[in-house]
Amino acid sequence: MTAPRKKHREAFLLGNEAVVEGALAAGCSFYAGYPITPSTEIMECMAKRLPHVPDGVFLQMEDEIASMGAVIGASLAGRKAMTATSGPGFSLMQEQIGYAAMTETPLVLVNVMRGGASTGLPTSPGQGDVQQARWGTHGDHPIIVLSAADVPECVEMTVTAFNFAEKYRTPVILLLDEITAHTREKIDLPEPGDFEIFSRLTPTMPPEWYKPFEETMRGVPPMPPIGSGYRFHVTGLTHDALGFPTSRPEEVRALTERQFRKIDRFFEDIQLVEHVGTADAEVVVIAYGCVARSARLAVRQAREAGVRAGLLVLKTLYPFPRRHVEPLLRSCRLAVVPELNMGQLSREVKRVNEGHTVVRTINRIDGQIITPSQILKEIA
């Protein structure tokens, strides 16, 4: 991922500001959004930065639905585009996420999770949107959901989000939490060449041969920007290879299956995790976001106390990294899943567990963080 280290400029940034650095490094040139705590710094920072980026466009829209619409439009016109929001705004965006998934429009959506349903705890952390990120929009659809645990990871995972969106022609959701978004840390600002940057494939065949939703080797058809001479139809209706609406069972099935397959075949590329001392672990903590930071310390302290503890940090939440989780559930006598909700990712862990080991959850929903000692108590 990282090329040989060059001299980097350092900066003392919020997680939200680091997202902007990552986005610009990934080639993002379009942002549309609507202010909402605790994601607003992303928007404010974009408003300052994008006018300096060649062809950069920043738009404040009338609501989150419109923001997603504008991002989809910009992406269809060939831009790398993103939006950011939080809880209630995320719910408003769900309809358009379905549209982006159906039309295979690449985009990045950052959702900074806060506490509670509804207005809830707008300035406190939460992780209650995990299942919504996977299943919030209607109907069967593939999606990629990522997370970041600290400020440097905000840069890295935003770049990854853009790369996945472009590579797989899909909306990618990056879940942060209020703690990660509002923690200020010193980071190295990304320089060109630090990250491998992926841009969507565009067609090379003559326009009259081009079929916008055709089956391809990777399952991802090339995508030309609107206005480049490839005229075709984009619709949220189920469509055939040419993009025209269809309800023929065989065409509907082929479309949906390809949309799933294009993600499912590349689990190895998409499912990112970090193993910390899991090789010999008898107890494993499975965590993501700000909770992973507490877990890191807890696991270290447990090791010092003589418990063979390990940590699996999930950077990709969906598609759920079963290939990494399952072996640990088989080899450990206890798995602990701490999260700032009543048990959302632990559902996935339990689903994968199939009775192999004991899965214990730590759930906190009072707007406070899960502390290392809280985790330590469960594992040591």
Binding site: F30, A32, P51, H52, G56, V57, L59, M61, E62, D63, I65, A66, S67, M68, G69, A70, V71, I72, G73, A74, S75, L76, A77, G78, R79, A81, E95, Q96, Y99, P225, I226, G227, S228, G229, R231, F232, H233, V234, T235, G236, L237, L242, F244, P245
Partner: protein, 278 residues
């Protein structure tokens, strides 16, 4: 005259299923014709024209024409159109919407598109009803009119699309009908060639879902009603008794550069200042 039909055929996607999905006598096909003739009259390249449609009968128009076409979600056509126009200002972006689409579910987007004057042409096909879902009242259904969700007559009053869009700040607002096709052609072409947000309201009868329940005997009778009740704004203003009459024509023509133009100017200013300081 044969060239009119031949011309349209040049712009249709013949690998798409024809005839149009619309009911017999539905005016939407006529509006489509108007749109094609206007694009042709302005000499626009097919590659540079984008049709962004919403959901509803009007939304189906997009698939038939050989432009860049995007059939979006219900009410959100203008948001996607805004994204496309800002991303590539060289494109001619046309949002085709129905009355429910543009003024009920998408009403917020419409007033904001007008306020920010994004350089998009909005073509609102007003048939006073939700046609595709089977005939429910919309925000333009006239007071007292019957529909499946106003079986005792619509209690609420209707939006005046022209007045609303005008008040929201649009650069251009006009109204035509599918009976007055030549005038409609001119209004659409004018809207397409002007900067800023320009809206054309096209009255297009829906006999199946609206006419039948409101005392019309046929689609033809609805066209007759358009012929008899609509008149140019100049003549309308001289009328003493305006009841039941609908004015047609161009209501506002303000010279306001599109948001994309103002944005580009702002960015250039920003970069020049930075360059000068360095």
């Amino acid at each position: 005259m044969a060239e009119i039909t031949q011309l349209i055929h040049k712009y249709l996607r013949h690998n798409k299923k024809f005839p149009l999905v619309f009911c017999p006598g539905c005016g939407h096909g006529i509006v489509l014709g108007s749109l094609v003739r206007s694009v042709h009259a302005l000499g626009l390249n097919k590659d540079d024209v984008v049709i962004v449609a919403g959901i509803g009968c009007s939304g189906r128009i997009a698939a038939y024409v050989d432009f860049n076409t995007v059939h979006t979600t219900h009410g959100r056509a203008l948001t996607v159109a805004t994204g496309i126009k800002m991303a590539n200002p060289k494109l001619t972006v046309i949002a085709v919407m129905g009355d429910g689409d543009a003024f009920s579910i998408g009403g917020n987007h419409l007033i904001h598109a007008a306020r920010r004057n994004i350089g998009v042409t909005a073509l609102v096909l007003n048939n006073f009803i939700y046609g595709m879902t089977g005939g429910q009242c919309s925000s333009t259904t006239p007071e007292g009119a019957y529909s499946h969700t106003s079986p005792m007559g619509q209690l609420e009053s209707a939006f005046d699309i022209v007045e609303l869009t005008k008040a929201a700040g649009a650069a251009g607002v006009s109204r035509g009908t599918v009976y007055h096709v030549k005038e409609l052609d001119a209004l659409v072409a004018d809207a397409l060639s002007r900067p800023g947000f320009n809206l054309v309201e096209a009255l297009t009868p829906c006999f199946t879902q609206y006419g039948r329940g409101n005392g019309f005997k046929s689609a033809v009778e609805m066209f007759r009603w358009l012929k008899d009740s609509c008149l140019p704004i100049e003549r309308f203003e001289k009328l003493e008794d305006r009841t039941g009459k609908i004015p047609l024509g161009s209501f506002v023509r303000r010279d306001i550069p599109g948001l994309e133009t103002r944005y580009a100017a702002m960015c250039e200013g920003v970069r020049r200042k930075k360059g000068g300081a360095a």
